[in-house]
Symmetry: D3
Subunit: 294 residues, 6 copies
């Protein structure tokens, strides 16, 4: 009855050993630059705890996490108040995962945590393209003078990947200057996923990082986030778009950010984030799972 | 001014005497086997109180609860911690209603409370078929060893109704084994109500029990439930599906379960549950309501 | 660094001086007749505070509030418990704005606050027509004996505008008598915006007051209101309907009512109300904004 | 098993018939003049529902509600938005109770509901004295012009009982003018119950109305109220003060007001209000309860 | 940087290996028999997560958890809906700990989880005495027919320890019959800790189990529990009483039960429970910690 | 009726012009280094809005804010994610106030915002002493490597004021090393205000900065803070201690920090913070207010 080893907590069904895993999941509980309502720091911890309300099996993909090989690396202990140091720690963690030829899957935290993760992936894959699902452009050059801000994260990514390497979908909020800047420098699709199939076709064979700010979802299905924006996509639209990319591109890194559990009184947003995570993991693992014989 | 009789509380518009009523409404405030977030025990009480924010008139069906004959039997006092005893009490209450040739309409509580209600109806109608709206299969043979569990309720119903007598719609969560088992034993429609018209056609003339786990609704319109599952149906889809059944089949018993008011910070889920209840009552009473002359 | 003038608080981007403004925004924090769940009194205050999470730019209309000329008159200090006095104060405030040939835009409060605002506009434009978006008919002649009630507001408007001058959309709740009364006296469209284009065509060139009870939105996108009603419209449907009217008619007054921040645990309803407000302001200001040269 | 009479809901242990009862409990769910945070309208309803978490037995007084004879008259249906009409209804209800020689015990609602109840008692007992427990003076002559306001209720009582007939305890908030006015017209004890024994001695044999605004309690033990004021009394201090009065005076009417359940996230304030109510009822009934023989 | 072993989660400072530990902490997330507001099932999980807001050092005892040897065994996976089975699992877990000569420290869950833990300790120490801190007597013989209930737990303990072996403190709620029964069978101190020193003196040298229902605390300092009872003790009173026992008796088992995180909106109750736990652990470990040399 | 000047929002009763004011109030909405539960950034905004539930008159001091001369400078717009820049902005704002010979009174935000405010005051008064009320030592040299942290703020103050210039009261949480370090460098009083009179006597005539972390209050009266610590002081104890200092010393700067409105479901903590603020302002203004003649 009595388990004499220490209490292990992982996301449901993510109990592979590090050595056996192809995907390494980890949390970056950081939200120091969030200018409005903080709280995304609690997302990974809450998702891990609540994952036990989920099933490992997906009736959408007819796949089961029990057949996948995912290691949960826990949460990084990040320094609040020293943004650069926190980002450096995320970068080094992701780089270590990549060195072992595993795919890093980051759970935010605010969107800024994606920056060092993308940087680390870019260092391994210099021809990296980035697909960005979000309600917000995240293209400001700075926010009240700070270059490192949740509102600037994709602009900072552009600093190293450069023009034409970023595809943005679902965008419905930003400053005028950001939308106009995007016309020159990124592929920005307002409001929805129109043009996604075309993007996937163009990106075929290239290494792709997929960064999902969950506020791309409409607040009706995802109220639990700091800056909810009406007019977003449904869960099924997000699911289909995400699968298109996973099946059509070579995804080499990805993340889910901006769940804010303190704003999720019913728990439905956390449950939805977990379902997106499960389907993402299963989509990535599909080529490696043997069909079930029944 | 002063009312000298005791304070009576019923669902809005459900103020018929027992003798005159065709439908008997009652609450089963029980959630002891809920493995995740409890609280459905408060649903019937909260629905009764909040029903005064609703209108008795339906602009959808152009019918008014004031013309219906519904008795509200209040809430059963059920024993927490002794599941079998609680279920027995529900069974006996439903059986008494049926003996008087009235239709029992149960408000949960967790889904397990449907089991004794269906059992009682089955004892009167041995050729009973069951239509099941839910996000979850509820087909586990046991849950951590317990045969009587919210996760097993439809499996327990199958124990007595047998193969081919259960139609499931909207299902989008469960273990792999449950989905595979369903292929042999129930009619299971994943995700939506496709095939409902066909089912109604087949069930014409047969006694039908309709059990609605409100989490069949998408969390966007029904966050107030213990295990919200993204990708569900809209209120209007549920409304239309429910009316199809009520109009096309001989419904002899029904229930609404799994509202969890503690998770319904805005009250919108409770209001939606009440609207489903009103339309269900009006649909059932329609043949007995004389047209209004204006 | 130090600002030695007093602390000014306005809705984001609504910082014109009174003299320069074409639109005057003001709050009427009153909910005394709310029969069910009060709290709309906090809407304007909360919207003002939360507006700093919004952007001034609309990617929908490609317009920016920074180019608009809107004055924020703050919130009226209204007397709770003396309904007539509160309504008189709103009336006089709106009349003053109209005298200066500015458009009054009212933020409720409960829906009853629209009555004196519409009255003031009607006094200036005796051929006024009213377009009413709402889940509820609001056509009761009285509520528990009170003629001045949130449930009677449109009936009171009819008292002076008369038959055929009120267009109602999205209505899905009310007493039977209200729906039947509407057949004789107003244009009432149940459930949705069907027929709106036709109404706009008929109203071309006539002065129009647009009153939006935000509960016309489905509770999935707007749970934060006192009497949420399932089966409503989406944000995009509301946005499109609102723009049709603003572009097709001569809108001379308008309001947004019934946000209840205490019921908006996630803040998503407040954010949505703000987005509706921004688009309303930009739509009204569009003819006066010079195109940006980039 | 099946109860064929309508669903009766009373406060726990208050199930006497009207005829047999010495005390009549009733709720006045009204908060229209509340200038700050509304919600006391839900107090009586919530207290009734939550009373089932309480025991009928008091270990403090060694008495049991099962031996008391209390009738629960339910909640009045009061008109929001027409203050005078609502107060008239409360007055008439209380007057009816008094005519039958029963003691009216009112559950608010905001404090203004005490006014008509005290008026009705005063009409029967013209030498009535009033004992007032509160954090606030409630002695304004008007509030934004309204004479009938929660902030004026004791001033309005003074209008008919006159100088020296009102004893106030626990007061720690008000305008300067109110405190200065009180020096001339009432007995006002700041902060605590000092002098209560003396008051009781003076009031011996005279009819007394006891009105308890529950915010007299410190917010630490009673946060669930609209205007919490630090520096209040403890539950045991309130309990002892209340018992002193009940045992030392001839209490002919009383009330408990200003519980606001929407502000009571934990439920502890509602539970405390119920405990105060139980002890009040038992104290009043003590002379009529026969000792238990065990 | 990268930790390649699985994510371990323990209470702050409780990171000893099983072999080295003198105390084994474990959670029993069970609340199936809770008749009122459920949710204590989340207590151990939430306490573990929130413990990172606590310090390991106690300025009260000048001791540090870093010097203690405590193993955190995680949470048992208990069957909801089959009470006996859940209790058996707790019993076996505690028995295993005792077999290894370690002290079992249980975190509830509802109070019923203490029963099997006390039973296991009793089997090892047949002369066991029980000290019980609680607001409630917990002495019912059954609750709605169920012998195994949170309201009966101490009565069930009496079934095997017998008369005069149970000391109860802080009790302020129960049925009359329970208080009268206690006079014959237990040492029951109403309201406070009077007589505790005397009890400690009598129990000197005897094995003692200390069971703390945290609702013994006043709701002002501990609102986050299912049945808050006004008139309780302060944190410092509880702390001092607990230390008296730990220092004066031979404590061989203990527990903390009835924290309900869903009712703890501010987190203060969880933080207080953690502080009680820290001081309990440090008090128990004090004889084994070497003084710090600074 | 119509106010044509922009909407001004100040703390209740703090409506002096800058030139006339002796005290300048301002908010520093910053919480980026908060390691646990963020949200103090909303404190000043929420306090300003909620201040309208307070009275301007203090029955404790018999003084009225209407007779005081306080300017409300609004909230600074601080950069999240760049701690040094945010602190610099606070410093410069405070320095400007001091240059004009006014007293700066800062509303946090997290405790770190006190650092630049104290620094600015120290630059003017090099013999400054600091009195610190808090539950926590705040004496860490760094927190996860960051020197600028809420947990290090008093240590950073020590960096410039040096040994023996800091008096700490109410402290009941910290690392062992902090408590031991304090023995050499500060005057630290654990748990309460013992010794305060003595400190005041020693500090007579010296310039004093008073920094109040509101979590010095017991969580029973102040749950709305990020790291609540049981065993704190009552409101009246804090009030008396604060007045002792204001009356006995030459207070030249002060602050109130660590209210976290998101954790204050009932609003009682915000109301308490406001009452502390009112009494602080009145205490400071007392020498300048002429007695009222009545």
């Amino acid at each position: 009855m009595l388990n004499k080893s220490k209490n292990v907590e992982t996301f449901l069904g993510c109990d592979a050993n590090y050595e056996d895993a192809r995907i390494v999941l980890y949390g970056a509980p950081f939200d120091s630059t969030t200018s409005y309502r903080p709280g995304t720091r609690f997302a990974s911890r809450m998702m891990r705890a609540e994952s036990y309300g989920l099933e490992t099996y997906s009736p959408y993909q007819d796949l089961d996490l029990e057949d996948a090989a995912v290691f949960d690396g826990g949460d990084l202990e990040l320094c609040f108040g020293d943004t650069q140091k926190a980002l450096d720690d995320i970068h080094d963690f992701a780089a270590d995962i990549l060195k072992d030829n595993k795919l890093p899957l980051l759970i935010g935290g605010e969107h800024l945590v994606s920056l060092p993760a993308i940087q680390a992936v870019y260092e391994k894959y210099p021809d990296l393209c980035v697909i960005h699902f979000d309600a917000h452009t995240d293209l400001r050059d700075d926010y009240l003078g700070a270059k490192l801000s949740h509102a600037s994260v994709i602009r900072r990514v552009w600093d190293f990947v450069g023009d034409g390497r970023i595809w943005q979908f679902g965008i419905r909020s930003g400053e005028r200057a950001e939308f106009y800047w995007a016309k020159e420098h990124t592929h920005l699709q307002k409001f929805n996923f129109d043009g996604l199939e075309n993007a996937v076709a163009q990106l075929k064979g290239k290494p792709v990082y997929l960064t999902i700010d969950l506020d791309v979802l409409d607040p009706s299905c995802f109220p639990g986030t700091g800056t909810p924006e009406a007019g977003g996509v449904t869960f099924m639209q997000l699911f289909n778009a995400m699968l298109s990319i996973i099946q059509g591109c070579q995804v080499v890194g990805c993340d889910l950010v901006e769940l804010s559990p303190m704003l999720d009184a019913s728990g439905a947003s956390t449950a939805t984030a977990l379902k997106v995570l499960r389907e993402m993991l299963l989509g990535l693992e599909k080529p490696f799972i043997k069909p079930v014989q029944i």
